[in-house]
C-alpha cells in the first residue's frame, strides 16, 4: 500500500486543491468576503496553471492505471488556459444577482469536469478512463442546465444528460466487449491482444461512438446545436472548446496507443466521419440565424478538421492536433466571448442583430472578426497555421482526397464566417447594438485571445515544442 506514487499526479491534486478550497470558501466565507470569490478563484486557478505547465518525466501510477506523458502537461495547460478564459468571460454573468448564489457550484462543477478530463487524458486503464469520461460529462449536464429557470437551458440539460447517458452506455457495452475479447483493460497490455477480430472491431466501434458523441461528429452530433443554443453562453463555450478539445486528444491517444493494430479499420471510419462532419455541419451552419447554434455547427466542422490530424496517426498528427486545439481554444473563445458580452447586455443573439456592429462597437467587432478569420483559417492568423498543419498531417499519410474535400469545405465555411463579417462591417442597421463597455475581466480575455490569435502562428517555438514532445509518445 504505497500511496506516495499518487502524489506524482500534480495536476490532478493541484486542481482538486483548488476545487476544495473554493468549495469550502463558498460554503464558509461570510457575505463580506464572498465578493472576492471570483477574483480569488481566478487567481488560484492561475496559480494552478503556472504550477503545472512544465512537462515532467513519464511515470505511471497504480500499476499503469494512470500514465503520465509529457505531452499531457501541454494539453492540460491548454485546457486550463481555456477554462481560465471562460472564467474571465463568465465573471459578469456570475455576478448577477440571480446567479450569485450558484457561482460556487459553477466553479466546482466546471473544475470537476476539468478534473474528469485530466483523468481521461492521463488514463492508463479503461476504468479510469470511463470514470474520467463520466466525471467530465455528468456534472457538465448540470452545468448545461445551470440557468435552470430558463426553459431553453432546462431543455438543453435534459437533452444533454439523456443523450450522454445513452452514448455512455453504448460505450460501456463496447468496453465490456473489449474486455471480453482481450481479457484486460490496461492500455499497456491491450495492443498486444487486439488482433482485429470482428468482435474487437464491433467493441471498438461501440466504444468509440461515446467519444465521437463528445467530439460531436456527424452523425453523433445532433445534440450539439440544441445544447449549445440552450446553455448559458459561457458554458457553451466551455462545452464546445474544452470538452471537445480534451476528447479529441483522448481519441487520438487511444487510437494510436490502444487500437493501433486496428488502423486499417479506424482510418476509413474517421475518413467517413470527417467528410460527413465537415460537410453536413457546414451545410447546417449556412442557414443558422442564432449565433450560438451557428458556432455549434462551426465547431462540429472544426472537429471534422481535427479528425484529419487524428487520421494520420503519426507524431505530426499528434502535434498538429494539440496545436489545433490550442488555436481553436483562443479562436472559439474569442467568438463566444463577444457573443456572451453582447448577449449579456442586450439579449441579442441573432446574426442580423449584429448588423452595423462595427459602427457602434469597433473593438468587439474586431475581436470577432479576428476569431472568425482564425476559425476560417485565414492567414496571418493562428487558425491558418493550425489548419495547414492538420492538412499536412493528413497529406503526409497520403489522404489527399480527404484533404481536398476538407479544403473544398473551407469555401463553404468561409462563406458563413463571412456572413457574420458582412453583418458587422457591411450591413447597415436602424437599430444597431448600442455601444457596450465590457467589464475588465472580459477585456482581459479578449486581449489574451487577440494576442494569441495574431501571434501564435508566428511564434514557431510553440509548435516546435509540442512537436518535440509528441515524438516521445
Amino acid at each position: 500500500m504505497d500511496y506516495s506514487s499518487f502524489l506524482q499526479m500534480h495536476e490532478e491534486f493541484s486542481l482538486l486543491g483548488v476545487m476544495i478550497i473554493l468549495l469550502l470558501y463558498d460554503i464558509f466565507a461570510s457575505e463580506k468576503y464572498l465578493k472576492y470569490f471570483q477574483p480569488i478563484a481566478i487567481v488560484l486557478f492561475l496559480v494552478h496553471i503556472v504550477l503545472n505547465c512544465v512537462p515532467r518525466e513519464t511515470f505511471q501510477v497504480s500499476g499503469g492505471m494512470y500514465e503520465y506523458l509529457p505531452i499531457h502537461s501541454y494539453i492540460k495547460t491548454f485546457l486550463n488556459i481555456g477554462t481560465l478564459i471562460v472564467f474571465l468571460q463568465a465573471h459578469k454573468f456570475l455576478n448577477e444577482d440571480a446567479n450569485r448564489i450558484k457561482r460556487g457550484e459553477f466553479y466546482f462543477l466546471t473544475l470537476s469536469t476539468l478534473l474528469g478530463m485530466y483523468f481521461m487524458i492521463s488514463a492508463g486503464n479503461f476504468l479510469v478512463f470511463y470514470l474520467g469520461l463520466e466525471t467530465a460529462s455528468v456534472p457538465m449536464a448540470a452545468l448545461v442546465a445551470f440557468d435552470k429557470y430558463n426553459n431553453k437551458a432546462a431543455e438543453a440539460g435534459a437533452k444533454y444528460i439523456l443523450l450522454a447517458v445513452f452514448a455512455s452506455s453504448i460505450s460501456l457495452f463496447g468496453i465490456s466487449l473489449i474486455y471480453g475479447s482481450t481479457g484486460t483493460l490496461y492500455f499497456n497490455d491491450l495492443p498486444a491482444l487486439i488482433t482485429g477480430t470482428p468482435l474487437q472491431i464491433l467493441a471498438f466501434v461501440f466504444f468509440a461512438v461515446g467519444l465521437f458523441f463528445k467530439i460531436s461528429l456527424v452523425p453523433f452530433h445532433l445534440w450539439a446545436a440544441d445544447v449549445y443554443e440552450g446553455a448559458q453562453t459561457n458554458i457553451t463555450s466551455y462545452l464546445s472548446v474544452i470538452s471537445k478539445g480534451s476528447a479529441v486528444f483522448v481519441l487520438f491517444t487511444l487510437l494510436v496507443k490502444v487500437f493501433a493494430s486496428l488502423i486499417t479499420e479506424w482510418q476509413p471510419i474517421l475518413w467517413i466521419l470527417a467528410v460527413l462532419s465537415i460537410t453536413i455541419a457546414n451545410l447546417f451552419a449556412i442557414r443558422q440565424k442564432n449565433l450560438k447554434r451557428f458556432l455549434a455547427f462551426s465547431s462540429i466542422s472544426q472537429a471534422g478538421y481535427i479528425l484529419l490530424a487524428i487520421i494520420s496517426g503519426s507524431a505530426i498528427g499528434m502535434s498538429s492536433l494539440v496545436y489545433y486545439v490550442l488555436v481553436y481554444i483562443f479562436s472559439n473563445l474569442a467568438a463566444f466571448g463577444v457573443i456572451s458580452v453582447i448577449e449579456e447586455r442586450t439579449g441579442k443573439i441573432n446574426i442580423q442583430d449584429y448588423d452595423g456592429l462595427y459602427q457602434t462597437n469597433p473593438n468587439l467587432s474586431f475581436v470577432m472578426m479576428l476569431s472568425l478569420f482564425s476559425l476560417a483559417g485565414i492567414p496571418p492568423f493562428a487558425g491558418f497555421f493550425s489548419k495547414f498543419f492538420v492538412f499536412s498531417a493528413a497529406a503526409s499519410q497520403g489522404f489527399y482526397v480527404l484533404v481536398f474535400i476538407a479544403l473544398l469545405n473551407t469555401i463553404i465555411s468561409l462563406y458563413y464566417y463571412l456572413l457574420i463579417i458582412k453583418a458587422m462591417f457591411l450591413n447597415k442597421s436602424d437599430h444597431p447594438i448600442e455601444p457596450i463597455k465590457s467589464d475588465f475581466f472580459a477585456r482581459v480575455s479578449f486581449a489574451v485571445c487577440t494576442l494569441a490569435i495574431i501571434a501564435i502562428g508566428f511564434i514557431s517555438p510553440i509548435y516546435d515544442q509540442i512537436h518535440l514532445i509528441s515524438f516521445g509518445m
Partner: protein, 167 residues
C-alpha cells in the same frame, strides 16, 4: 443442474420484464418491472459467485436508484393525466432497428467469443482479497478509481442539488 435451472428462471425474468419495462403503458409498472430485472440481475451475480456485487446491486440499484425513481415518478405523475401512447411508426422503426442490432451483435459475438464450457468451480472471492484489491495501488488494484468515483459522486451531488433546489 440446479444452477442451470436457476439461470433459466432468472433469464426468463430478465428477458420478460425487460421487455415489459420498456413497453408497459404505466410508468409505475415500468419502474416495478425494472426493479424485478435489477433483482434478477443481482441473482445472476450471485450465480456467478460475486456475492459482493450482488449486495451492491441490491443496495445501490434496487435500494437507491429505485427510490429515486419512485420519488421522481410520484413527483411528476399527476393523477388523472393520461400518458400519451407511443407512436406506432416509431415503435416499428425502433423495434426493427433494435432487433437488427440484436441479430447483428449477437452474430458477431457468438461467432467470435471464446467458448468456455467448463466453468472453474468453487470460485471463492474472499473479503480479504476484495479489500486488498480495492485499497491497493498496484496493478489490478483499484484505489485510484475508488477515489475518483468519490469525486464524481461529490460533483454529481453538488450538481443535482444545484439543479433540484428551489433557488
Amino acid at each position: 443442474m440446479a444452477e442451470k435451472i436457476i439461470f433459466y428462471i432468472l433469464g426468463a425474468i430478465i428477458a420478460i420484464f425487460s421487455i415489459m419495462a420498456v413497453t408497459s403503458k404505466q410508468i409505475i409498472r415500468s419502474a416495478t418491472y425494472l426493479l424485478f430485472v435489477l433483482i434478477a440481475t443481482a441473482g445472476l451475480y450471485l450465480l456467478l459467485g460475486y456475492n459482493y456485487l450482488f449486495a451492491v446491486q441490491i443496495a445501490v440499484y434496487a435500494g437507491g436508484v429505485m427510490v429515486l425513481f419512485i420519488f421522481a415518478i410520484s413527483f411528476t405523475n399527476r393523477p388523472g393525466e393520461k400518458v400519451h401512447g407511443e407512436v406506432p411508426v416509431r415503435k416499428l422503426i425502433a423495434g426493427t432497428t433494435a432487433a437488427a442490432g440484436v441479430v447483428f451483435c449477437g452474430y458477431i459475438i457468438y461467432r467470435n467469443i471464446r467458448k468456455v464450457t467448463v466453468l472453474v468451480q468453487q470460485y471463492n472471492l474472499s473479503p480479504q482479497k476484495l479489500g486488498e484489491t480495492l485499497m491497493g495501488t498496484e496493478k489490478y488494484q483499484y484505489l485510484l478509481p475508488f477515489e475518483l468515483i468519490s469525486i464524481l459522486l461529490l460533483a454529481c451531488i453538488v450538481g443535482a442539488v444545484m439543479i433540484a433546489r428551489k433557488r
